[in-house]
Symmetry: C2
Subunit: 190 residues, 2 copies
Amino acid sequence: MNVGPYKFSEFKELAVKFHGYAAPGLLIGGYMTVAAKAALPDGVLFEALVETYNCLPDAVQLLTPCSTGNKRLHVVHYGKTALSLFDKYSGRGVRARVDPGLLGPRPEIRAWIMKEKGKEEQDEALLEQQIAEAGTTIIALQPVTVDLSRLNRKSDGPLAFCPRCGESFPAAHGGLCRGCAEGAPYSVPS
Amino acid sequence: MNVGPYKFSEFKELAVKFHGYAAPGLLIGGYMTVAAKAALPDGVLFEALVETYNCLPDAVQLLTPCSTGNKRLHVVHYGKTALSLFDKYSGRGVRARVDPGLLGPRPEIRAWIMKEKGKEEQDEALLEQQIAEAGTTIIALQPVTVDLSRLNRKSDGPLAFCPRCGESFPAAHGGLCRGCAEGAPYSVPS
């Protein structure tokens, strides 16, 4: 089954180029994205909320205008193979996830999604074939309303200089930049 | 000045396609990424740590193999125009930021980076011209070591079914999935 405007093989190529390899989660995430998008009203300006950092965010970035750097892609670290696309202004939209009840006779997808096999036991060619054949038919959709106040959308506002590091930062963050206040995850080697 | 392998005009086209428009932050972020990459040893497998969600993450995604969905791109919400590229295994790398002291006679970049003007007062053509002319010369680099233990890199591990929503989630997260435990930022309309 095509992945939106792309043939399966074309989407795989895009995946390799952007993500490093055509990971199963990216291929399934492609169908999830396509299914959710098709369920939105035509022409709606939408954003995305993805419930895992694994692969799915890249499917959204390849198939929609939502990206990490334009802040239309939001990720929460729930470890769930699920994503929502929603109207930027009303929050109303659609959540897509793989429903195990829809898998039917596709044991390789089931084993992958439920992590029943280690990577070395996986039959990757068969898994890919089952994903391509299943397409959007294994995706369950449900209407959702996203609470827009909980997303990172605010402008940073006016800047100040941090008295500790001397660099500029959003004044609204407080007296010090967050790197100095919290301790940044990097250090300057002495 | 070229942006890595791309002519400035080509990089602008990529930016429009991926990000929606050729934002100044994405163009400057392109030079920051290129400068940091050039300072890494040849052939090192690297990841990225970006200190703002504004634009810069997309520059990294366009110019390196690091993406949100392959978890080689990490973002902290510091609101700082800075990014680091670092060795995936040792954490050693390079931090790039725009140093106001290097701007010289480029008032439009200074006004943009310090947010001295509203968007409507900005001379976008002049800003873009100054960015293209300045290239990497306005980027300050410093060696850093990233604390790898503070990055999101762990596998999710074995799954469990959430007794509340019935969906699968990483068992290590606790008795309930995080969506149910914390209250997900979406709701199913009644």
